[in-house]
Symmetry: C2
Subunit: 305 residues, 2 copies
């Protein structure tokens, strides 16, 4: 079943200890849509400028991503982000953020998107997330991402947005900030009480934890021999997670769906791990579903006892 | 089958955000011996002073720990360590280390210890570890722990010691320091080449990874609602890991033992998690094997997919 994805389609400049790329396709919306497209049909809502390359659009089309909701602003410039990673890649510094056409983004959903049963709201201003959510007719499963910037600067909007989400994806530091609880079990309980019945807390290289009213599930991070570029790993997790649920037609309740949610956690981790293997979306260009299934089985092998 | 444990039996002063205890039973040897005693018969090699309390000795005896190798120095004072944890408990500062009788520790194994098939060398000077190891007749499985202090200050002794170990338990920072590799898979490969076929890298609250020539296994950390005192958690991991292997009579080779090693990783994680639930060895006083099995099953529940 189809998945609507909202988020930035952008150009990134990235420097890691393994290299430097001045400008390449990036953005949360791009990573989420590409990774989800291995599982389900994806419809993108985003905005780009006139400088958006034909070949980048072609890549999205090759993955059968619906671009009816990708607005192109004549004379506009695409969102640009530039960052540099620390030697251990656990920290990154933003060198430049040029919002460009994203500054006036006023998302409007094509009619053909509004009946989609799955919606993922990438990390944008929570009031924009609500605006998109409000245009959907009756989605079965709605998830979203956020960040410290909105927790600090737009907390009321954020709380209003997530009240109606089924699923929130958030990293450990942000979960602590949003809940006021250091302990992740207690942080997740507080976030449950804010709305989402499904809380996934990302822990970077250490993996992620799924918290549900009936229990929790821990997915370890994949041990890559070399991390070339971690940009987009969290978004790729979101794409694998939501893509798999949409493929399976899972909605929110019951034991069977809990089993699917666990598998979704692993597919998310698998997609996050592939993302780091090359710069930008490089690895996603050649990836196959077979590669994905092999790594899924590898996760089983190194966690079973 | 019996397990010989070498390590400090000490008094600790500990302050965490949850409280402060000026002086209580502690030391790596104590934690390892107590946790292993839930699985197998344990023989301790250590030294204490005349100030070592009768009730602390009684606790060890209650767990049927053989104390023939616990030397008591007349007029001597027991090793004392004092430390304070950061608010998030991921860092700790040592305020005081009084080696006392440990300064002249010259371990000598009772004859009844020398035939034991299992040996775990707690974190002491590597030349003392070798001295103990050399007194064993033909142990089937030998493991040991070390720390940054010996990697920096006694590297040649450490390399000589671990050349003959089957198993090394080491934390992530120390594994990187010892191997010169940041990436944990590559660090483990280098450490394999130094001797131990079984390398376990601890990652604090995130759990631990087992590296073997035939593959690796990731055990997540248990999500406690409250960590009262993490002192001894790594040693408790060692005790659960070695205790379970000794109980099962596992030695070093083959698929069956690899399955046992995975379970040993979980029993280690279980014992580490219980250790943090009260100050010092508090939780180990009331713990039962039934509690341990229940938590082992809980690990299965939150990792299975």
């Amino acid at each position: 079943m189809s998945l609507v994805v909202v988020g930035s389609v952008a150009y990134d400049g990235v420097e890691t200890p393994h290299g430097k790329v001045d400008r390449m396709l990036g953005g949360a919306g791009t990573y989420i849509a590409l990774t989800a497209s291995f599982f389900t049909s994806v419809k993108v809502v985003a905005v780009v400028g006139e400088d958006f390359h034909r070949e980048d659009e072609a890549l999205l089309r090759e993955h059968e991503i619906d671009l009816e909701g990708l607005e192109k602003v004549p004379g506009g410039k695409t969102f640009f982000w530039q960052g540099v990673y620390s030697p251990d890649m656990n920290e990154r510094e933003t060198l430049k953020t040029e919002l460009n056409v994203f500054a006036d983004f006023n998302p409007s959903l094509p009619a053909a998107y509004q009946d989609s049963p799955y919606l993922f709201l990438g990390n944008i201003h929570p009031s924009l997330q609500s605006q998109v959510h409000g245009q959907m007719k009756n989605p079965r499963f709605v998830g979203g991402d956020t960040m410290n910037f909105w927790i600090e600067g737009a907390l009321d909007d954020l709380k209003a947005a997530i009240r109606n989400w089924d699923f929130i994806l958030i990293n450990d530091g942000e979960a602590r900030m949003l809940s006021g609880e250091y302990n992740l079990r207690r942080a997740a309980e507080k976030i449950h009480a804010m709305g989402p019945h499904t809380v996934v807390i990302k822990r970077g290289e250490y993996g992620a934890i799924l918290f549900r009213p009936e229990g929790y599930f821990i997915a370890p991070g994949f041990l890559l021999e070399t991390v070339y570029d971690p940009t987009g790993a969290g978004d790729s997790f979101a794409g694998g997670f939501m893509g798999y649920l949409a493929e399976q037609g899972v909605d929110d309740i019951g034991f069977a769906s809990h089993q699917h949610l666990r598998k979704a956690m692993i597919y998310g981790s698998v997609m996050g791990s592939f993302c780091c293997e090359q710069f930008g979306v490089g690895r996603l260009r050649t990836l196959t579903r077979d590669d994905i299934e092999k790594r899924f089985e590898e996760f089983r092998r190194f966690t079973e006892f």
